[in-house]
Symmetry: D3
Subunit: 130 residues, 6 copies
Amino acid sequence: MALVKLLEYADAPPAVRAVYDDIMRTRGTDRVNNFWKALANDPALLERTWSQVKQVMAPGALDPLVKEMIYIAVSATNGCEYCTYSHTAAARAKGMTEAMWMELMAVVALANATNRLANGLRVPVDPQFL
Amino acid sequence: MALVKLLEYADAPPAVRAVYDDIMRTRGTDRVNNFWKALANDPALLERTWSQVKQVMAPGALDPLVKEMIYIAVSATNGCEYCTYSHTAAARAKGMTEAMWMELMAVVALANATNRLANGLRVPVDPQFL
Amino acid sequence: MALVKLLEYADAPPAVRAVYDDIMRTRGTDRVNNFWKALANDPALLERTWSQVKQVMAPGALDPLVKEMIYIAVSATNGCEYCTYSHTAAARAKGMTEAMWMELMAVVALANATNRLANGLRVPVDPQFL
Amino acid sequence: MALVKLLEYADAPPAVRAVYDDIMRTRGTDRVNNFWKALANDPALLERTWSQVKQVMAPGALDPLVKEMIYIAVSATNGCEYCTYSHTAAARAKGMTEAMWMELMAVVALANATNRLANGLRVPVDPQFL
Amino acid sequence: MALVKLLEYADAPPAVRAVYDDIMRTRGTDRVNNFWKALANDPALLERTWSQVKQVMAPGALDPLVKEMIYIAVSATNGCEYCTYSHTAAARAKGMTEAMWMELMAVVALANATNRLANGLRVPVDPQFL
Amino acid sequence: MALVKLLEYADAPPAVRAVYDDIMRTRGTDRVNNFWKALANDPALLERTWSQVKQVMAPGALDPLVKEMIYIAVSATNGCEYCTYSHTAAARAKGMTEAMWMELMAVVALANATNRLANGLRVPVDPQFL
C-alpha cells in the first residue's frame, strides 16, 4: 500500500473535479497526474497549489520553457524524483531539446559545485555587491 | 581574520595572474571577484573552475541570461549568500529586469514547495514518465 | 545485493540483541525495523542512536505526536524516503489523521517556498529580531 | 546597497497597501516585516504569498503553535537565517517556551542525523510500510 | 539581542559545569565555544551532544583529522557557517594544511556537482551495485 | 522509458569512445558505468566531467580513499542514490572496511545534526574564528 491514496476522478467530490477539469482544460489533456490525485486528499491544498502553478508558470516576464527549466534546476538540486520526471517531460513538451537539457544540467552541476566552494571557504561578499 | 586568504594580483604567481587576466579580459572589467582570489590558493583549482565557468556559461543551446537565472535558482535553493549576490548582479548586467527577477523567485519558491509535497507524500511517478 | 547487510536477531551478538529487545519492549511490538538492523553492523552506533531516539522522542515539553510530525517535516525537506515512510507510519500510529497530515505537508511546502524567497532576495533580518 | 529594495508603506501602491493593512490587522501589529516589503516589488507575488501564509498558518487540524514549530524545523534544516529569526519570534509570541524550543531543536537534529544514516546506508524500506 | 542566550560558566548549574569541564579537559583548552554555551540552555541536550561528539570524533577506524575533514565536507554542503568556521579551525589544529583544505574543497565541489547530474538525469543504478 | 538515454560504446562517436577508453584504462576495468553513458549525450560535458574526476580524485595532498569517503559524505547528505551506491563501491575497492564505513556514517550523521543546532539556534561565531 502506497503512503498516500490517489483520488480518481470517479471518486472525487465536486470541488476536486472542478480542479481536475481545469487542469485538463488548461493543459489540453485528458489525464491528471498522480501529484494532483495525491493533493486531492485535501481539496483546499489541491486548489491553492494548482492556482499557484497556473499563475506562476504562465507566460509573463519569463518564457514558460525557461520556467520549466528553472523548475528542473531546483528539482535536481533537491533530488526530487517525481518533480524531475514530470517537469523534464513538461519542458520537452514545450520544446526543450536534448542539447538544451544537457546544457541546463551542466549549469546546475556547476552552480552546486561553486555554491560549496563559496560556502566552504567562507568567501566574503565583494563590497560592490552589498 | 577571515577563514580564507584572498590572493591579490600583486602577490600572485604567474599561473594565477594568467587566469586573472583571462577573467578580466573575458568579462571586460578590471576587477577580479573575491571568489577567484580565494580559489587562487590552489592554482589548479582556480584554473579548472574558471575554465568550467567560461565554457558552461558561454552562449550555446541556452541563452547566457537564462543560464545566470538558473544559477540564481540553484544558489537560492542552497542558500549560498555569496553566489546569490554575485549571480544576481551578473544577471542584472545581462539584462534581467526586476520583473524577471521576481518571477524567477516565484518559480524557485513554488518548485521548492512542490518538491516537498511530492517527497513527503511519496507520490508514485506516473507510468507514462518512466 | 543491497549496499548494507541487515543483521537479524538470530545472528546478532548479545549487545545488539539487548538493543533489539529494548526497542521491541519500548514500542510494544515484536518487530525490529530495517533501520536498526542496518545500524547493528556497528553495535556502538546502534546503541547510541537508539538511546538518542528513545530520549528525544519521549514525552517532554512537546507531545510525542508533535515530535513525529516535526520528524516528517525534516524528512520530507531532505527527501529521505526511508524516514518519510517510517515516521509517517509512526505518526499515524500515534493519532495523526489524514487532515493533520495534509496540513503538515502544507506548512512544510510553504516554509520551503518562503525560505527560498528570503534567501534568494537576501532579505535583511528586521532589527527587532536581532 | 542591499540586493532587494524594501518598499515602505508610504511609497507603496494601493494593491500593496491593502496587503500591508491586512497583515497588520491579522497580526494585531502596526509593523510590516522586511520579508513582505521585499516581496512587494511584485504585488502579485506579495498577495499570493500572504494569502497562502494566512490560510496555511491559521488554526485547523493543527494548532498554530505546532505549525510555527514545523516552520522552524524546516527553516533550520534549510539554514534560512531570516526565517529562523522571524518564526522563532512568532513561535515565542504564541507561547513556545525555551524548553519547548530546545526539545524542538533536539528532534530536528536527530531527524537530520538519521535521515543521512538511512540515505547513506540505503536501508531498504520495510515491506509493511509499502 | 541574539536569538539564543549563551550560558557562561559562572552562571551555569553544576550539570552544565561538569560538561564544560570535560570539554576543556578533553581538548586541553580553557575556553568553551559558543556552540556549547547555546546548548547549555538544555543541560540534557548539551550532555547528549557532547557525549556523541566525544565518542564519534575520537580515534577509531578513521583518523581524527579525516573525521574533521568529513565534518567540513558536510558543513560546506549544508552551508552551516558556524560549523564551517569551527571545524576548519579544528582540522587545522590537527594538521590540515592549506593544500589539504583546497583539495578537500575540490572533492566537495565535484561531489555536489555530480550528485545533481545523477539526480537530474535520473541515471539508473548499475546492476552490479544493487 | 528511462528519462535519459544510455549511450553504449558500440553506438558512440569517436570523441565519446576516447573518454570511455580512458575511463577503462585509468580504472583497470572493461566496464563503463551508467553515469558516463548518460553524460555521453553531451560529449563536451562527458569530457569535462571525466577530466575533473580524474584530476580531483587522483592522489595528492589527500589519500584517494579519504577522497572517496568525502564523496560518500556529500552524497549521503544530499541523498543522491546513484552516487552513494557507486562511491561506496569505489571506496570498498580502495580498502574501506565495514568498520570504517560505519564510522564515516556516524560522523556524517553527527555533522548533519549539529549543523542544524548551530543554524536553528543561530549561534554566533566565536570571535577567535573570525
